[in-house]
């Protein structure tokens, strides 16, 4: 199944008292179920902006974008929100954990909007997911008390807890050491494989990028294929 289909997509933002800023232009991208795609690019190249488009958080200003076969431009209101909650799992660059809530409460949040059995069994589901990311002992801790890497793992558990079909991860290992990063990546891939989900990962880390099936690079607002994710001269 084709989860993402972007044709000539662009994103331009209006800036007060200045010319409009085109962040993305002419993006063509398809992602199939079960596929793993990595995207690299310089800071400010528009990676997070692209991920927001794919995640139905933002809307393109040009081109056509279909997510799970639905025209993103026509997907509005509650239907758009529900589909985002059900089908898409986000790992934000800045984690975006809810302050004041414990780790397990944060992981439960998506299940509050799931309804049915997932809602009623949210605590158990969340606990299992935290155990899988290695935080079974820290369920009652608040994000403020967790290390950066632990916070990132809470964010990952929260993104996966509803078993999304499209996982969008913005530097999911940015705060983790090499070894933990590898373990966490393995976990994300494992959960993705269980549901044949697609995984789009933004990363600066060549080792992480190399785990993907397909490698892309954002540069000057355009998406270009990348044959070898390992930059020249890297020993890895």
């Amino acid at each position: 199944m084709r989860l993402v289909e972007a044709i000539d997509v662009g994103r331009t933002v209006q800036i007060p008292d200045a010319d409009p800023l085109t962040i993305l232009r002419g993006i063509d991208l398809t992602v199939e179920a079960g596929e793993r795609v990595s995207i690299v690019g310089r800071s400010g190249s528009g990676k997070s902006t692209l991920l927001n488009l794919l995640g139905l958080i933002d809307s393109p200003t040009e081109g056509e974008l279909r997510i799970l076969g639905e025209d993103a431009a026509r997907l509005r209101g509650a239907r758009r929100d529900r589909m985002r909650g059900r089908e898409i799992g986000f790992v934000f660059q800045q984690f975006n954990l809810l302050p004041g809530r414990t780790a397990i409460e944060n992981v439960q949040t998506p299940l509050l909007y799931a309804g049915g059995a997932s809602f009623w069994r949210r605590e158990r589901i969340a606990r299992e997911m935290l155990e899988r990311v290695g935080l079974g002992e820290r369920t009652a801790a608040r994000p403020e008390r967790l290390s950066g890497g632990e916070q990132q793992r809470v964010a990952i558990a929260r993104a996966l807890v509803r078993r999304p079909r499209l996982i969008l991860a913005d530097e999911p290992t940015g705060a983790l050491d090499l070894e933990t990063g590898g373990t966490v990546m393995e976990l994300i891939e494992e959960v993705a494989a269980e549901t044949d989900a697609a995984l789009v990962t933004i990363t600066h880390d060549p080792a992480i990028a190399r785990r993907a099936d397909r490698h892309l690079r954002l540069s000057e607002g355009r998406l270009v294929p990348l044959d070898d994710p390992v930059p020249a001269g890297s020993a890895a």
């Binding site: 509650a78 929100d81 986000f90 934000f92 909007y113 809602f119």
Partner: protein
């Protein structure tokens, strides 16, 4: 999953989310909720105490003027008809209009032998129904029953001062009183009415009208203070159609008495004086309570608005995990409602304790209420209802603020 279950789950999850939010922001909301609780307590207390006080006012007026609707009928005739004929006509008219409670009423006097001398004691000669129409309370013994008419020795219901003069004998011993005058009689005390205020220090008594009529004229003091030998008549009538029935009784009563007899009729109960003599007090009290509550609501809106602004980013995060705008609206609204509901429960609980406290009952009813009302359900309902309403009103503005922001802007906030 059917639609109903989905809605129910949605409701429960929104409330669960609201409670979690309340817990997180408890510091901020607690103070305004205390305000709401105080306001609800004030409102419920005022409504509850109002009901108790109203009962007090009503009972006092009923003791004087009879229950609603009580009418008094006076017979005027140049040549007074035979008392027996008047009584018979009265009973017949009562029967005709199915009036269950009617009484004769005349004021007189009897000469009573106390241990320290003879005293002329004012007497009200009545029928047993008088006790019901006027809510007469007895602190000892009983009010007249139908059987008292059969007694050879007339029955007396005396006041506390009278009883004091007798040396407060237990009524179980059937204390008797010597009535002086030509062919004096012995009367039996069957009941004692409690003291009715500071001034109630002189002995008085009730006697059944027939018994009183059969008394010999007391020693030279005159038999009536009303200037008429005929008693007046009172009837307790269904208040919903009081006026036509009063008029019909007046007409038929006069007709039955025949030539030249005239009957005046007038209402004496509190309800006859305007629709509701307590309406003004009630409106005033409710007005004050509503102002208190609105002040509480204002504080709540203010705080809720501030908290929502600081939470725009959080709300954006929730939206990315599937919270619809409607869901966010409802959850923010619920936060306010759940909070004020809890505050309402606390407020109503405090109001119940207040109103039921013996001190309050004493202040409100002078401790003399016969039908002491429990805490009125309507006060609890009004208290809780207004708490929820205020919560909903206070929550609507922040709820709109919460959904106005686009998800992408909230995330980048």
């Amino acid at each position: 999953m059917n639609a109903l279950a989905r809605i129910a789950t949605g409701f429960v999850s929104a409330v669960a989310e609201a409670m979690e939010e309340l817990r997180i922001h408890r510091g901020r909301v607690l103070l305004s909720l205390v305000g709401v609780a105080v306001a609800v307590c004030a409102l419920a207390t005022v409504v509850g105490a109002g009901a108790v006080a109203e009962q007090g006012v009503r009972e006092t007026s009923e003791r004087g003027g009879g229950r609603a609707a009580t009418a008094t009928f006076n017979v005027n005739a140049t040549t007074p008809p035979e008392p027996e004929r008047v009584d018979a006509a009265w009973r017949e008219v009562l029967d005709r209009y199915a009036v269950a409670y009617g009484t004769r009423l005349s004021y007189g006097e009897m000469l009573v032998q106390f241990t320290d001398g003879a005293v002329a004691v004012p007497v009200q000669a009545v029928d047993p129904a008088y006790g019901i129409i006027h809510r007469v309370r007895v602190s000892e013994g009983v009010w007249f029953g139908d059987a008292d008419a059969e007694r050879l020795a007339p029955a007396l219901v005396i006041n506390e001062a009278f009883w004091d003069r007798l040396g407060r004998p237990p009524l179980a011993t059937h204390p008797t009183v010597e009535l002086l005058g030509e062919g004096g009689r012995t009367a039996v005390v069957v009941g004692v009415t409690p003291r009715n205020g500071e001034w109630d220090t002189e002995p008085t008594a009730f006697m059944l009208a027939d018994a009183y009529a059969s008394l010999p004229v007391p020693g030279g003091t005159g038999s009536s203070m009303m200037g008429s030998l005929l008693p007046s008549f009172e009837a307790w009538i269904d208040r919903n159609q009081a006026d036509p029935i009063v008029e019909a009784i007046r007409r038929d009563f006069a007709a039955a008495l025949g030539d030249g007899a005239q009957v005046d009729a007038f209402r004496t109960d509190y309800a006859a004086f305007g629709d509701d003599p307590l309406l003004f007090v009630k409106l005033l009290v409710v007005g004050v309570a509503v102002v208190i509550l609105l002040l509480g609501a204002l504080g709540l809106v203010n705080i809720a608005l501030v908290t929502v602004r600081t939470r725009i980013r959080e709300i954006g995060i929730r939206r990315t995990f599937g919270a619809t705008a409607g869901r966010v609206f409802f959850a923010v609204l619920m936060e306010s409602v759940v909070g004020t509901f809890v505050a309402g429960v606390v407020g109503v609980g405090a109001a119940i304790l207040l109103v039921r406290s013996p001190l309050m009952t004493m202040v409100l009813g002078g401790g003399e209420l016969e039908d002491l009302p429990g805490f009125p359900i309507e006060a609890a309902v009004i208290g809780l209802g207004s708490a929820v309403l205020v919560g909903a009103l206070a929550g609507i503005l922040p709820a709109f603020a919460a959904i106005r922001v686009r998800v992408i802007d909230a995330i980048r906030f």
